[in-house]
Symmetry: C2
Subunit: 455 residues, 2 copies
């Protein structure tokens, strides 16, 4: 129902824009949550998107800022591009520090510098504080506005502190610190309600707090929050001082981003490439990977070239050549996917990898036997040539076994070498399966040449 309303609003906004009814556009959009406004804006054309955003900037800056945030830096930058740097400052300082930092770091250097200079001093200092941490670490994605209480307080004092604090919408845990801001405990809101008001926080707090360091990788942060079913995780500096907090909604974004990254990397696509990326940018991002593929494909092709005399005599070999190579690639990709995802989810580690290796090699062999048999029968029905059938079956068995073996070894080795296994495994694997496929099929054929009747 909400989805329907959102869809209809897109049409209404378009009509109102044509009539220049800017006030009506602002009023209509104010009835929606920012995430819905983001959906509505996405359904418009580029000039419409820019006008709607400038209307919101003038008439409802808070909604403009939240919508921008929901659109994310990829789609949001397009809306910021036509603005002056002081306007960008005004809209970004409406955001949480971590969200503002995302946009600042996505802006061109010159603009980012100007925007920071024109923001309120406190907001600018906070953002610059986050930007000193490397991208994709806890320090970079945390919000420094963490709510904490002294361990010396009583429950009633704690409740008073909550009541008088500002900007506390997303408080789930109350972190307790000592007099030097070291993180010493955590209390839930509900716990406060369950005990007499005079109880000291020290007495009800949990001291075994799960936390991360500022330099913890965001993927590890997400893993911990998911593993322990947390709503937020505190971030501490090297001296265990509380410096920020990461909430579960940001963790969900990280999980989605990391999954997208794995899916994209396996297909050789940049993680920032998406449906709305301009043609020129997409081409520039995808060409390098295609170029590497072309080189490896040509390298594999030299194997075929080596056997040209055999093919010249038995041209039907060319018919089955792509079948052998392709089936190895398909089977290897199955293995690769299971291994890469197992590594990403932490189910598979170097320590317990031997079982996986053995298993995948056996799966490859078994699949090779089954597919080799079927392909051999099919080839015999088609060409009535027993030697060809045997060569085809043999090559497929060899190639699919090698595919299972290399499909598991390659990502494990890459992980060991600290290279993203999702990114590089596929291309190395298909080079292996192409070469093995060509070599085993044409090699076997050449060996058995004398027995093959020319068809």
């Amino acid at each position: 129902m909400q989805a329907q309303k959102v869809q209809m609003a897109g049409g209404s906004v378009r009509k109102l824009l044509r009539r220049n009814a800017h006030g009506h556009v602002a009023n209509l959009l104010a009835k929606f949550r920012s995430a819905d406004v983001a959906t509505i804006i996405t359904s418009l054309t580029e000039p419409e998107r820019v006008s709607v955003f400038s209307i919101l900037m003038k008439r409802n800056r808070a909604l403009a800022a939240e919508t921008l945030n929901d659109l994310g830096p990829e789609r949001g930058l397009e809306l910021l591009a036509p603005l002056k740097s002081n306007e960008i400052s005004e809209v970004l300082q409406e955001l949480e520090t971590d969200d503002a930092a995302v946009f600042i770091s996505a802006l061109p250097d010159q603009t980012a510098q100007e925007v920071l200079e024109q923001m309120r001093v406190d907001a600018s200092t906070d953002v610059q504080g986050l930007l000193q941490y490397p991208p994709e670490t806890a320090g970079r994605i945390m919000t420094p506005n963490v709510f904490f209480l002294s361990e010396e307080l009583s429950v009633s004092e704690a409740i008073h502190a909550i009541q008088t604090a500002e900007d506390l919408e997303m408080v789930f845990y109350l972190y307790v610190v000592d007099d030097r801001r070291h993180l010493v405990g955590v209390v839930s809101l509900r716990q406060l309600l369950m005990v007499p008001p005079s109880t000291p926080l020290k007495k009800i707090m949990t001291t075994n707090v799960i936390s991360v360091k500022t330099d913890t990788d965001q993927e590890e942060v997400a893993r911990q929050v998911a593993l322990y079913d947390l709503l937020a995780i505190p971030v501490t500096d090297p001296e265990n001082k509380l410096v920020g907090v990461i909430t579960v909604d940001d963790v969900i974004d990280v999980i989605k981003e990391e999954a997208t990254e794995d899916i994209f990397h396996m297909a050789g696509v940049d993680v920032h490439d998406h449906v709305y990326t301009p043609v020129r940018t997409s081409v520039k991002r995808r060409l390098p990977w295609l170029g590497i593929n072309l080189v490896t494909a040509l390298v594999a092709a030299t194997v075929v070239a080596f056997f040209e005399p055999t093919i010249a005599r038995f041209s039907f070999l060319a018919v089955f050549l792509p079948v052998v190579a392709g089936m190895g690639g398909n089977s290897g990709t199955q293995t690769l996917t299971v291994i890469v995802r197992g590594l990403a989810l932490g189910e598979l580690t170097w320590a317990n990898s031997r079982t996986a290796l053995w298993k995948e090699s056996m799966v490859g062999l078994a699949n090779g036997l089954a597919m080799g048999f079927l392909a051999g029968v099919a080839a015999y029905v088609w060409k009535a040539n027993l030697i060809l059938s045997l060569v085809l079956a043999g090559a497929m068995i060899i190639n699919m076994f090698v595919a299972g073996l290399t499909g598991s070894v390659i990502p494990l080795l890459l992980k060991k070498m600290d290279v993203d296994p999702a990114l590089a495994s596929g291309i190395i694997l298909t080079t292996f399966t192409d070469v093995t496929g060509f070599l085993s099929f044409l090699g076997l054929a050449t060996l058995l040449l004398h027995y093959i009747p020319v068809s």
Copy 2:
């Protein structure tokens, strides 16, 4: 540091098992959170895993249940297999209803029936209530133990209700219902603290509650929770009566599961296939997809067979044949991945698909021009045959343009037809790019046959 402790605990458990020091094993594990115990158990061998679980079953049933839950049904079933049905009942009734339902539905039918009969009546009724909803819907994954308050209450009465309620660890929102349990509003815990105790709930509640229906797909549930940054989402029946709640930790599991499903489906792997699946099961699950691939590969091969006379005369064509087909496949897979992920994340819909289609075709064409040029140059350097170079370049341009077009049309059409685009797109695409690659390369070569000098 925690990770290190967990790793060391694996070794200690192993030693204690060898000494039959069951009490010590239980004491050691009791110091960890269940998620860590799950990690420790995973690092052991199968017989060790089974012994540790049976020790926990006897000495710390609550921890056994939580650990089982953290392991998930795939790895958990192995631990339940050696147990009698009454033991399974005892451990499952320690779990939240939604979690118990996951295990019950994964058990063999006969066992599931026995386990349900031996559970406490209330637990069994709750689980059966969830099992009546189809898998992967909100009704199936919700917990029916939702905390709600009557709209007639005051804030102080609400606080009293919270203080006296049991099992309330994960309460983030207080749902407000009318006298027939229709969901009418929501109040946050913090809001209760901010107003005078005599305030009626009606006055402070938000009436525009985001909720889902029992038959909403779990992927849509996850999308809404992520979109609106929620900690929990209430579930209502067709009459808008509140029947359950889904919390963000379950949503995180859904997001991960759906991402895994997309990654696996794109490679033709069953979502339940993972690193620890037995060889026989993996083979059985992967063979059908490989079989379909073999058939489509053989179909594409008939195109090559049609041109056998050409290949017999110009055997070097066989060298470049896999290059043309492969590069089309690679380029198309890039497009496919961006489109499939765009559909999964809701960025792309049928309505705004025309732009995407146009864009991807242009990207394919541009990439084809670049790669065709490079491949043409490489072939000329290698074989010094200008006609061959032109044929290769032309075929690659045609194939990569078709790849961009079909790579975006196929998933959109499948989505429109309610078929999972991640599952079927890849195989249809590679069949297209194989056929187009073979046809354009060998077709152009045959057309220009008279101009090609036999090398």
